[in-house]
């Protein structure tokens, strides 16, 4: 901890602290404020179970690298995702009829149907924060947000 008993030292520290706040861009401020519009009190959340980006040695890979693998789950239901170049493929487990909706900021929701085995594919997925809503005959679950 710094010694801030000295007035000039404290002013210098304060100057740095205030300067840091001045570096915040309006773009980030507006995006942060707008995040609140995504508030949904009754959404049931699927927590992140796995993200291959966090695996040790993620940067070392062979030619057959499958892309980034993510999975989210709540109770029995899980959704596994593979993020490839521009597209996301995945599977809802246990395998069942379901729809998967991709939500991203600033664009319309996009919904695709999973086949009987739970497989689905969403094309033209850009970078940025996204989440997925899985709707089955019994439930409606939303994944945590993740940055692609």
């Amino acid at each position: 901890m710094n010694d801030w008993s000295d007035d000039d030292a404290l002013m210098a520290a304060l100057s740095e602290a205030v300067g840091e706040a001045d570096e915040v861009t309006d773009r980030r401020r507006e995006a942060a404020q707008a995040a609140f519009t995504w508030r949904s009190v009754d959404a049931e959340l699927m927590e992140l179970l796995h993200d291959s980006a966090l695996e040790a040695g993620a940067a070392v890979r062979g030619a057959a690298d499958p892309g980034r693998l993510l999975s989210f789950g709540r109770g029995e239901l899980t959704i596994e995702l593979e993020v490839g170049a521009g597209a996301v493929t995945g599977q809802v487990l246990p395998a069942q009829d379901a729809t998967v909706t991709l939500q991203a900021t600033g664009v319309e929701d996009r919904t695709v149907a999973a086949d009987g085995a739970g497989f689905f594919r969403i094309e033209e997925v850009g970078s940025g924060p996204v989440r997925f809503v899985v709707t089955t005959s019994e439930t409606n679950l939303t994944t945590a947000w993740v940055t692609l």
Binding site: M1, D7, R29, F36, A59, V60
Partner: protein, 197 residues
């Protein structure tokens, strides 16, 4: 509601759906989030994305946040994790030369403990400043202005005698040292020193 409200009250109102309270939370913590993002050396666009993900995650986390005092720690940890995840994900998407060992270092490029303490200190200083009465806060901000503002102009703007600027500055700084935010920082620092022994 503005940033001078206690965090407890802001979190409670945001839970009720108050956008103004949410904006005040954003205003208080965005500099910390941005500073953390900057230290991870993401591209500007990726930095924007991580930043927004942190706030989206906080929106979904609001109702399960048991203790609003845990918010600074939650925001700091979430921001660092999201930065590291995106850095690692970006490395997957670019060709890697296995002979280039330097390319692996970025994967664990977390901020150092020393940097983290400095970031938390600057956050506490801003929080302390927000706790001060408006007049004293304004005086300190005018004294910090870059380029500097003369005492004569400060005197005119705040309608106080030039001779009282120095003594008021000293009182404002003493008050700052005794704000809740700064006392919390001092006790947290003592605790961590105790742990080290």
């Amino acid at each position: 509601m503005d940033t001078s409200y206690p965090l407890q009250a802001l979190v409670a109102s945001a839970r009720e759906g108050d956008q103004g309270a949410w904006n005040a939370i954003v205003e208080r913590f965005l500099p910390l989030v941005c500073a953390l993002v900057r230290r991870h050396r993401l591209s500007e666009a990726d930095g924007d994305d991580v930043c927004q993900t942190v706030w989206l995650r906080l929106v979904e986390h609001l109702d399960t946040l048991r203790e609003p005092d845990a918010l600074p720690g939650w925001i700091s940890t979430t921001t660092r994790n999201e930065c590291l995840r995106l850095l690692a994900a970006r490395k997957r998407m670019t060709p890697v030369d296995p002979m280039d060992s330097g390319s692996l270092e970025g994967v664990t490029a977390d901020v150092s403990g020393v940097e983290l303490v400095a970031l938390e200190e600057r956050h506490a200083l801003r929080e302390g400043l927000a706790e001060l009465p408006a007049g004293r806060r304004e005086l300190l901000l005018l004294l910090l202005a870059d380029p500097p503002i003369s005492y004569a102009e400060i005197s005119e703007r705040l309608d106080i005698p030039v001779g009282s600027i120095g003594p008021t500055r000293a009182r404002a700084l003493e008050q700052l040292r005794n704000t809740r935010a700064m006392r919390a920082l001092a006790s947290a620092s003592l605790e961590s020193e105790g742990e080290r022994r």
